[in-house]
């Protein structure tokens, strides 16, 4: 690049954006452009979302009747297992990090790509291979161990395709680890000049904290599944009590990963919401430093609470007390974040475009779900409600009400940037409100059913719970429509949507300074950063109505 170009004095020759730069299938399947890889992931996780959704549609239909009506118990058990496996590992874990994270991380830090672009593509192929193994498990007859694969049922008793399903999860774990390594290295090594750690957008911090967990927790999942596979395939006695093994050991290994995994699923969502609320409230985020420390605290403390899944497993009372205490403590940083998002609305100039509706929905649903976690952290209450629908409601409030809402929030917020198109806003608002309503209709009754004693993973259930199941299934129908709507109008926008400018939301952040869609190398000049993030107004003031000065001034059409 010549000096004149660097100084931005000469107009650049027109060049295609990243979507149009190479249009063969091969160019997509061999791409190392993080933005294209993000699109590849987006297509993949959408497929798995609807696959997992189809499974649970069958389940919720069956649950209209207390004694079932069109499924055998075995089929039912396979369907809820498949739903869990697909939704956790093939949708929730990769969704925000591998789609939004992949797309935005380099853009937000002013880099041309991630640190290891070829590894990035390899991660996607690993995800595909893993998905193939899991779909094979389904087509060959399914797996019925639940997504938690508890021994000795999974290692010695189940007659279903445990090997294939566990192998699928094992492989996708390595995709996760590779992504984590990539994102950590990118954040350390590729920040633009002036982009110091405490000028990073909170989304970048969120992805960073998530990546730490991905790298350190996922290997333990791999080992726990490897041990189950070894027991089934090679007859090893690790979890077989008649040969000296201990089935509860599996639970410790499994939850050592799976608890931090829920933070993999929620931290990126928190990052998305932290980008959207300041933009639509036109305010600096309240308490940036504390937001950073809170996310790091969540990722750190998250490694030490796994035993709260095992209060009734036969573990010692002392262990339970320690895990209970730490589980109460880990609620504190999440609470701080909720306070800060709320405070960021104070004296704002708030508008309610669909990303903001989804983001505010996240705050409400995450708060509800998080508070229900306090019940579960209390040992006496947990003993009563664990393994009931109370827990099912709790984690769906956070993972679906929380992470999925935030995913949709981010999808809508950055859709113009990634595609260069505008989606129809009224449809989007309608879908957001429908999703929020359908979600509560589906999952709020489950708190009641759970406390009254309806266990989870029950194909048939005592008749007194029917009223809650009917409400929940009806809500699920609404929710299904709400999820199909964006599939419709977002696809429509690709062909017929209006053209998006560089910064349709008038947001701060380096990604908004480049074109929509961005060029293949993200920026046509070297970004330099000299101000803090969320620079919507001067420090110490509240929201005005002025457009924030866009960083780096240059606006290239």
């Amino acid at each position: 690049m010549t000096d004149a170009l660097l100084a931005g004095e000469l107009p650049l020759p027109p060049r295609p954006d990243y979507l149009r730069h190479g249009s063969t299938i091969a160019s997509w399947l061999t791409t190392t452009d993080h933005k294209r890889i993000a699109i590849l992931y987006a297509v993949t996780i959408t497929f798995f979302f609807f696959l997992g959704g189809a499974a649970i549609t069958a389940v919720r239909l069956e649950l209209f009747q207390p004694n079932g009506w069109f499924l055998t118990s075995d089929s039912y058990n396979k369907l809820f297992s498949f739903h869990g496996i697909v939704m956790v590992w093939f949708f929730l874990v990769p969704s925000i990090p591998n789609t939004l994270g992949n797309f935005l991380l380099p853009l937000m830090i002013g880099a041309p790509d991630v640190a290891f672009p070829r590894l990035n593509l390899f991660s996607w192929y690993l995800t595909l291979a893993a998905g193939a193994l899991t779909v094979y498990a389904l087509l060959a007859g399914g797996v019925d161990t639940g997504w938690t694969f508890y021994t000795p049922y999974s290692s010695m008793f189940s007659n279903t395709h445990v090997f294939a399903a566990a192998a699928g999860v094992f492989v996708v774990g390595f995709a996760s680890i590779a992504t984590g390594v990539n994102f950590i290295a990118t954040t350390h090594m590729l920040r633009a000049p002036g982009m110091t750690w405490f000028r990073l957008p909170l989304f970048v911090w969120a992805i960073y904290a998530t990546s730490l967990i991905m790298v350190l927790a996922t290997p333990v999942l791999a080992i726990s599944l490897l041990l189950v596979i070894a027991e089934r395939w090679l007859g090893l006695p690790i979890f077989d009590p008649s040969r000296g093994g201990d089935p509860v050991l599996f639970q410790h290994l499994f939850w050592f990963y799976s608890h931090p995994a829920v933070y993999i699923m929620v931290l990126p969502a928190m990052g998305v919401v932290s980008e959207i609320i300041p933009c639509f409230a036109r305010r600096r985020i309240f308490g940036y430093d504390f937001m950073v420390y809170a996310m790091l605290a969540i990722s750190g403390i998250g490694f030490f609470v796994w035993g709260h899944h095992m209060f009734v497993s036969g573990q010692s009372a002392l262990a339970s007390l320690v895990f209970s205490f730490l589980s109460f403590i880990i609620a504190v940083p999440s609470a701080i974040k909720v306070f800060n998002w709320t405070a960021s609305l104070y004296r704002g100039q708030i508008s309610f475009e669909s990303p903001m509706l989804y983001a505010l929905g996240f705050v409400g649903l995450f708060t509800t779900g998080g508070l229900s976690g306090l019940f579960l952290a209390s040992i006496p209450v947990d003993i009563h409600v664990t393994d009931t629908y109370f827990v099912v409601a709790h984690f769906h409030y956070i993972m679906v009400g929380g992470s999925v809402s935030a995913f949709f929030a981010g999808l809508h917020f950055w859709w113009p940037k990634a595609t260069g198109k505008l989606y129809p806003e009224s449809w989007a608002k309608f879908a957001a409100i429908l999703m929020y309503s359908g979600f509560n209709m589906t999952f709020l009754p489950q708190f009641f059913a759970g406390y009254l004693g309806m266990p989870r993973r029950y194909h048939t259930y005592p008749a007194e719970f029917q009223i809650y199941n009917v409400m929940s299934s009806a809500g699920a129908a609404v929710l299904a429509v709400a999820y199909l709507l964006p599939l419709g109008y977002l696809t429509w926008s690709l062909f017929y949507g209006g053209r998006a400018g560089n910064n349709p939301w008038e947001a701060t952040g380096l990604e908004w300074t480049t074109t929509s869609p961005p060029p293949p190398k993200n920026f046509d000049w070297q970004p330099r950063v000299d101000r803090e993030p969320y620079d919507y107004h001067a420090e110490g003031l509240s929201a005005g109505t002025d457009r924030p000065e866009v960083q780096n001034v240059r606006e290239i059409q």
Partner: protein
Amino acid sequence: MSDESAVLREPWLDFDRQREAAKFGIWVFLGSEALFFGALLMTYTVCRVEHPEAFAAAGRETNIWYGTINTAVLLTSSLSMAMASQAAESGMRFRRLVLGCLLATVLLGLAFIVIKGFEYKEDIDKHLVPGAGFALPQAGAQLFYGLYWLVTGVHAVHLSIGMVLVSRLFWMFYQRKLRISENPELEVTALYWHLVDIVWIFLYPLIYLPGRAS
């Protein structure tokens, strides 16, 4: 065409930064490997605390000669790997030394696998495979050997991956397709090889020394 640009990759503008990132990346990955083997070793530890005498009895059945020779072989391979890495610092001057050390590393790794193969055969002949007909009566002994086969198998897989990586480097250097000095791939491979070695250093006392120490 300078060697340097052949090695500079996207998104790096600066070769030093690329090297730094490669080293940083492999260290982060080694962190995940530490948790991977750590989980296996934690499983072993829990089982051993539960069945101390069974583990001691089982440990006595391992072949300490094979184990010790293999340890020497692997440690030597780490030495040759480190020498290759060090020699590469000076670029073309020590090209033959680098190539020789890489080759030695691969061959020593292969020797490890071969010796392990003999050891496995002996273990099978002695009925030390968990399942019906297992040689020792204690339940915990089957647990020990279950973990033994699994951990050494996983270690062997890692070693094999390492051998493929080192062989590839040897070949690319030999064909002069990659520059030798300051090569990030060489440094990454060397660190990975040292991980495989360090894991073995933990495995050796846990496999070969129970029941023999006192």
